[in-house]
Amino acid sequence: GAGVSQSPSNKVTEKGKDVELRCDPISGHTALYWYRQSLGQGLEFLIYFQGNSAPDKSGLPSDRFSAERTGGSVSTLTIQRTQQEDSAVYLCASSGGKQETQYFGPGTRLLVL
């Protein structure tokens, strides 16, 4: 079946603009995760959705970052008033449930000029 998909693949924006990144998880997966990967670094957890429960937002770096998951499927990560330090690859993953293996999408590379 289809894997996790993300769009756009690449996004270039100007400092101060808002951006939206989209993630389509694997069909039937109840858990969805967003991570940030800065150049040459490991992955930094941002936010986690599990079913209809309130999301775990503990990894969001500032209030400029928010995420939604509509209908328990597609998720959108929004970054408002982007800053140059937001430049990174944003990775989405989904899993079948708690402590199940996470499967990753190809990521969105964000560049803030």
Binding site: Q50, Q102, P106
Partner: protein
């Protein structure tokens, strides 16, 4: 909180040889899972192998195997018969009860012809 440490930023191996990537972790939980992911230049994170902490037997997937030392909190990855396609960043990760996955900083592996 969980932490994962990969002490080898870069490694290289000759094609067909064996290489071992190191990983140590720290957790206070009893029920956790450990993973190795591979990230080639395409940036797609690919699951290599998964280990349940409650299992004593080391996980194996074809040419990939782990040496899981629970008391020492060590989780190394052995790649046998290295192939050019194994060239990638390798990330060790720990997944705890709260479903938060923590990643190490990664090891860049180069397989030389």
């Amino acid at each position: 909180a969980q932490t994962v440490t990969q002490s080898q930023p870069e490694m290289s191996v000759q094609e067909a040889e064996t290489v071992t990537l190191s990983c140590t972790y720290d957790t206070s939980e009893n029920n956790y899972y450990l993973f190795w992911y591979k990230q080639p230049p395409s940036r797609q994170m690919i699951l290599v192998i998964r280990q349940e902490a409650y299992k004593q037997q080391n996980a194996t997937e074809n040419r990939f195997s782990v040496n899981f030392q629970k008391a020492a909190k060590s989780f190394s990855l052995k790649i046998s018969d290295s192939q050019l396609g194994d060239t990638a960043m390798y990330f060790c990760a720990s997944l705890g009860n709260n479903n938060d996955m923590r990643f190490g900083a990664g090891t860049r592996l180069t397989v030389k012809p």
